[in-house]
């Protein structure tokens, strides 16, 4: 719970861009891979303010990772300039440049043959720190990332879980206290629960560290959570919108941004909401042990186009239409069409939606654990829920950002 509050956007206010200084400046950065007609990154220009987390987010293949890797020149730009802290680093020795930039990748890339302490000490070794200083720094960092040094120092990477390894990855990137950190989907390969914890811890850490961070993800939720600013990138790393998460949610610059924010975020939210949290609607029902004439009268009296036939245990059997009720030649159990799209209250809205799409039905029938009818969930109910969630979400981020009026830049 304390993690939650620390990871809250509220906690980060007041640290953002107090000075308004630019830490990383990308000027017309372009990458053309040999044999490819269109450039992977096409004249990307962006200013990244000191002490902020700027998230590059976009669909796969949009060039976000290439853009990130050009900052420490793991990928050499074809043209354009990179200016870090006022210095043009486009042509300096890349090895020296990289020792000043922390680098965290999704695959972590710990060196499997050396111990955790030595892994963390990589850059201090390269910089020629003495033994005592290095050891002190390693212990301090392991502590910071929540791995007690006396317990983890001497272990090998393979003895750690994925989450622990990425903690080491972060510690290693921070070892020489670089002012800039590049993170390429750092929490992408980690299970959702651990990911949330690492995200929260990292945000808390950042309030102390105040690094300038470039963060790549394809997950808009993560972007909204982690970013002080988000750069939504389109193909060729063209910037569709570069703004605060709040602004992107409330004022998407164009359809692309709206689509990208909309689909990704809400579909994920659909997985968080369960069927039982949505009020089911009541269907017109009849039971097999009722008289056919009674059913027909009830059907005619309603404005429903179909009646849900239940068996003696209230389990859905068939959908009956008017003609099915009027014809006498077939027993009711065989008339009409078979019921499809049955969901239990525990299912998520995402499951229910999928059932509806699979069953080509506009409604899903909610049944309890024993299969007895509980109600109907129609597609309109899901749409209403989505709308409510969207509003609440925008409200949440707006509230978070506006909590401190000092931070609000007057329009």
């Amino acid at each position: 719970m304390s993690d939650q509050t620390n990871g809250d956007p509220l906690a980060r206010l007041g640290t953002d861009a107090e000075t308004g200084e630019t830490m990383i400046e990308l000027q017309e950065l372009t990458k053309r891979f040999p044999g490819q007609e269109t450039p992977a990154v096409d004249r990307l220009s962006l200013s990244i303010p000191k002490g902020e987390i700027v998230v590059f987010v976009g669909p796969s293949g949009c060039g976000k990772t290439t853009s990130l890797k050009m900052i420490n020149r793991i990928i050499e730009p074809s043209s354009g300039h990179i200016i870090i802290d006022g210095e043009d680093v486009t042509d300096i020795d890349p090895n020296h440049l990289r020792r000043r930039i922390g680098y965290v990748i999704q695959q972590i890339g710990l060196f499997p043959h050396i111990r955790i302490a030595e892994n963390v000490a990589t850059v201090p070794h390269l910089l020629g720190w003495d033994k005592d200083r290095t050891r002190e720094r390693v212990d301090e960092l392991l502590d910071v990332v929540g791995l007690p040094p006396e317990q983890y120092r001497e272990r090998f990477p393979k003895e750690l879980s994925g989450g622990q390894r990425q903690r080491v990855g972060v510690a290693r990137a921070l070892a020489a206290d670089p002012p800039v950190l590049l993170m390429d989907e750092p929490f992408g390969a980690i299970d959702p629960i651990t990911r949330t914890r690492l995200q929260n811890e990292f945000l808390r850490l950042q309030t102390e560290l105040q690094k300038t961070i470039c963060f790549v993800t394809h997950d808009i939720d993560e972007a909204i959570k982690m970013g002080d600013r988000i750069a939504i990138l389109q193909e060729g790393s063209r910037v569709a919108q570069f703004a605060t998460p709040e602004e992107i949610l409330t004022h998407p610059a164009n359809d692309f941004v709206e689509d990208f924010v909309g689909t990704g975020a809400t579909l994920k939210r659909l997985k968080l909401t369960r069927v039982k949290e949505v009020e089911p609607t009541e269907a017109l029902t009849g039971r097999v042990d009722e008289d056919r004439e009674t059913l027909r009268q009830r059907f005619d009296a309603s404005d429903w186009t179909a009646m849900l036939l239940l068996d003696r245990e209230n389990k859905p059997l068939r959908w009956l239409r008017g003609p099915d009720l009027r014809q006498q030649d077939r027993p009711l159990e065989k008339a009409g069409v078979r019921t499809r799209a049955l969901v239990e209250p525990q299912a998520t809205l995402s499951d229910a939606l999928e059932e509806m799409l699979l069953g080509a039905a506009g409604v899903a029938i909610v049944v309890d654990r024993r299969g007895a009818y509980r109600g109907l969930l129609d597609i309109d109910a899901i749409i209403t829920t989505i709308q409510t969630m969207k509003d609440a979400q925008a409200e949440y981020y707006r509230a978070a950002k506006l909590a401190d009026p000092e931070d609000e830049v007057p329009a």
Binding site: N72, I74, P94, N95, H96, L97, R98, R99, R100, Y103, I105, Q107, I108, G109, L110, F111, P112, H113, I114, R115, T122, V123, L126, F156, P157, K158, G169, R172, A173, L182
Partner: protein, 284 residues
């Protein structure tokens, strides 16, 4: 029969206390450790013991045979030890030189700039191994005869041909060993400001060691086998005894030579395995 069918009396049933359970667990742990220790003893001492037994058996068996004068002259300790020493020398020399050549070549062939030549280099190694060993020896013999500066018999041509023959396993394993290093580990190294040389020395090579050593082990065993042909070109070795036994139809001589080569090959493989284990980085 009848006693085993009666249900156990409840008063007899022993419910273990926690302390007892812990003690049992400790005993089981200790037993596990003992088992593991015994297993590793078997692993480390099994092969040498087996080889010693084979040699002892051979010695006893030869002792029961009535040896004629030719056999008695061939199967002297001095003779056999000398040949064994020659055999080992040939194997070690050739392995040393092939390492000196094939490992650096394998490293070069995996550098990005020289990558495209890799198939050519592999082809070269393939050729060395595709030619039958005897043929390779014979070819070198004739080649060296045309060069007055080079000795066409003795240790030198044999070592050269053994190098050619065992080139491929070491070259290929060096390349494979370097290639199988996770590219993200390399990217992380580069991303933190390691130079290419530093990446090679501190990451790629240590991580390639197990695979390279497996190649060395193969090459060593190959060389022990092929060195049995060295006698044809005046290189000596245990091949002399085998061939003498074969030509003179002296079975004890033939068998002694053959078993000695086999024991030597197994021993070399065993020792190489120990070195492999020792040199493999701990974290892998």
């Amino acid at each position: 029969m009848s006693t085993s069918l009666t249900p156990p009396d409840s008063s007899d049933r022993v419910v273990p206390t926690d302390a007892e359970r812990r003690q049992t667990a400790r005993d089981e742990d200790a037993a596990g450790v003992r088992r593991a220790r015994r297993a590793s003893l078997v692993r480390y001492l099994g092969m040498p013991l087996f080889l010693a037994l084979v040699l002892l058996g051979l010695f006893l068996w030869v002792g029961t045979q009535e040896l004629d004068s030719i056999e008695a002259r061939t199967l002297t300790a001095e003779n056999l030890l000398g040949q064994t020493r020659q055999h080992i020398t040939l194997t070690l020399y050739s392995t040393f030189f092939v390492l000196l050549l094939a490992v650096p070549l394998g490293i070069l062939a995996t550098r990005p700039r020289l990558r495209r030549y890799a198939p050519v280099i592999i082809g070269l190694g393939n050729a060395g191994q595709a030619i039958p060993s005897l043929g390779l020896l014979a070819l070198l013999f004739y080649l060296f005869r045309t060069q007055p500066a080079l000795p066409s018999t003795g240790t030198f041509p044999v070592v050269v041909s053994l190098v050619g023959y065992s080139f491929l396993p070491i070259l290929r394993n060096t390349m494979v060993g370097l290639d199988q290093v996770d590219r993200f580990v390399l990217e992380a190294g580069k991303g933190m400001g390691m130079s290419n040389r530093k990446v090679l020395r501190s990451i790629e090579l240590p991580l390639a060691v197990p695979v390279v050593l497996a190649g060395v082990r193969t090459a060593l065993v190959l060389n022990v086998g092929t060195a049995a042909l060295a006698f044809l070109f005046g290189g000596g070795g245990l091949g002399e005894t085998i061939f003498a036994g074969f030509q003179l139809r002296r079975t004890p001589v033939l068998i002694t030579g053959a078993i000695l080569v086999a024991v030597l090959a197994l021993l070399v493989d065993y020792l190489a395995g120990l070195i492999e284990e020792k040199l493999t980085p701990k974290g892998l």
